[in-house]
Symmetry: C2
Subunit: 343 residues, 2 copies
DNA sequence: GCTCCGATTGTTAGCGCTACCAGAAGGGGC
DNA sequence: GCCCCTTCTGGTAGCGCTAACAATCGGAGC
């Protein structure tokens, strides 16, 4: 009865728990329970409460709840350049998984990539009291940054190398590169040239290692590695050099964008793919099947990576022990850019 | 003095405002001011406070602050599939702008696109009490969803059409399509075929309109529009049909991915680009310059879009009047996929 | 009939911070 | 010397919620 005035003045301020309690004729605590622990309240009571909730359009105030429970229901994702296909896909998968588990996701995209920026990203999220953080930054500076973080916040890293003190989800870059290189050798090529990503990126390194290990194991010549920056432009620039060398018959480039540049360089030099030169990429971006020729490449399942990262983080938040790294195996997708070595 | 025990037990719980106050020998209120309104505190006092803050590693509790101020410092972004280049770039720009203004960004990626999912995305963010929301979902269902939202939360839409009750940032899709179409006509082509995006997407519609308006104004035949789904595959499939029709000499596709598919279809049919057929895309994704041939396309400045959206949202949050829509003009980038009509 | 138990609801206190109002201290004007 | 005004600092209360305990009630068990 005392609130009848409220009805008159229409809804001037949003409803709070007490308003619901009053309307339902119960205590605030009961409303709280009806919402958070339904089976600790008699069904009729709960029905009355829910009716009041919906009549008033009540929304729980997360700040108030967090203040007392200490949990926010927010996860943070720190990532380098979420414009790139890999990070964007990983972020997306994390976000989907989070939603299904009633978490929401805060992002901190890094414009630069160095130890400081990682730390800043983490701090920025921590200042919002997220419950945990996924760091997606497969760069040596990230590994470095992670080693110097103040502890106390559940944290998971993606592709950050295995020598860091946090649980990690990794794509087996090495294995992917091994598959790509073996594939080319099995087609009869004498050896394989590699255009790598930036050497300070963890996954670029893994791909170089995998490629090299196969050549060495097979006793093949190991050509010098040229490093690009993941961009199609760098692939084009480095590809031009390879195109001029008639002994080059097989190229493995560190990602699909670079490969696109290589394809263009080869074409401009009049070398046919795959008749004269075979080309293999990495990632399997959605467009790769429509490159010309359709690209043989190594598919990374970023969705899987994101889901693992989420799971791992939740486990950490709930206090589980730190397990070993979760490894996601990439898969060779053979299309038409690779073929038998020319005679 | 009363806290000397704390030092002994090492840091068992995180420092709070009172701890800082005690260490600095001031009241909690003064600490709060030193941190939030530095010029309302004597410099020496502030220095003492800051020293105490850093000695204790104090971090303000955002939940507590929000509870009393009513503001969270969090912005929400609702977007469809942040894996796509456009949404990802817009999100990225918003995030960068937000960071520079001490906001953080909470994402809700939509897996499906319909009125309900938009509403759910907004509700999910609102339940976290974000200070405002940007909806990046250039789809008619978004416009629809936005019309049915409960009010009271600052909201800005990106590319959502101009008939909705929220401020909006738009790329002038029509203008971009006009430029692309005029460019092709100016090269001597009799008319231009269009492969559109899904017709329920606002920007797909704008591009169709722009294209059609030029043809009609110039009195050219208006070929039937075939609608794809933005994917390279759909471009390929529809492109095959065009490739079989020798009267087709100029194609404008609704985005760069679809254009990639078209290029492949043309090549498979033995039609040369640009000698036999000219092709123009839309977006200017980073790879477009490395397609074969390098793609003439219409560049959208997603960074600009994101920055505008952020600005607009902040203005709304601070209670500014709703201005007209902000329009971002796209720009034609001429490369080598378009050339003179064959004689 | 009385005790005891579980199921249900209520009461109290406090999470960490800032708005609001007071009070104290210092400086200028007469 | 006194008053007023500005500058700085402190006390009090309360934001909206839930943890922890207390209270109540109906019925089972004897």
């Amino acid at each position: 009865m005392t609130s009848s005035a409220d009805d008159g003045r229409a809804r001037t301020r949003p409803a709070v728990l007490d308003d619901v309690a009053e309307l339902a004729g119960v205590s605030a605590m009961t409303v709280s329970r009806a919402l958070n622990a339904p089976d600790r309240v008699r069904p009729e009571t709960r029905a009355r409460v829910l009716a009041a909730v919906s009549e008033l359009g009540y929304r729980p105030n997360p700040a108030a709840r967090q203040l007392v429970t200490g949990r926010s229901g927010v996860l943070g994702v720190v990532s380098f350049d979420t414009t790139l296909y890999g990070p964007a896909s990983t972020l997306y998968a994390i976000e989907q998984a989070a939603r299904q588990n009633d978490y929401v996701v805060n992002v901190a995209s890094l414009a630069a990539l160095n130890r400081r920026s990682i730390g800043e990203g983490v701090e920025r999220l921590r200042a919002q009291s997220v419950d945990g953080i996924v760091v997606v930054a497969p760069h040596e500076s990230a590994a470095d940054g992670l080693r110097h973080l103040s502890p106390g916040l559940p944290l998971v890293a993606v592709d950050a190398g295995d020598d860091i003190p946090v649980p990690v989800v990794m794509v087996d870059q090495r294995g992917g590169a091994v598959r790509a290189t073996r594939h080319l050798l099995s087609l009869g090529h004498e050896t394989v040239w590699h255009l790598s990503g930036p050497p300070d990126w963890i996954d670029a390194r893994g791909r170089v290692e995998g490629w090299r290990s196969v050549l060495e194991a097979e006793g093949r010549p190991v050509p010098e590695v040229a490093a690009g920056d993941w961009s199609a432009y760098s692939g084009y620039r480095l590809g031009k050099r390879l195109a001029d060398d008639p002994s080059v018959t097989a190229v493995f480039a560190a990602n699909d964008q670079m490969t696109l540049g290589v394809l263009r360089a080869l074409r401009e030099a009049g070398r046919r793919v795959p008749e004269d030169v075979s080309v293999v990429g990495f990632d399997d971006v959605p467009e790769a099947a429509y490159f010309w020729p359709p690209l043989t490449t190594v598919r990374q399942d970023f969705g899987e990576v994101g889901r693992h990262a989420f799971r791992l983080l939740i486990d950490r938040i709930q206090g589980a022990e730190e397990g070993g790294p979760r490894i996601v195996e990439p898969e060779l997708v053979v299309r038409e850019s690779s073929g038998p070595a020319p005679c």
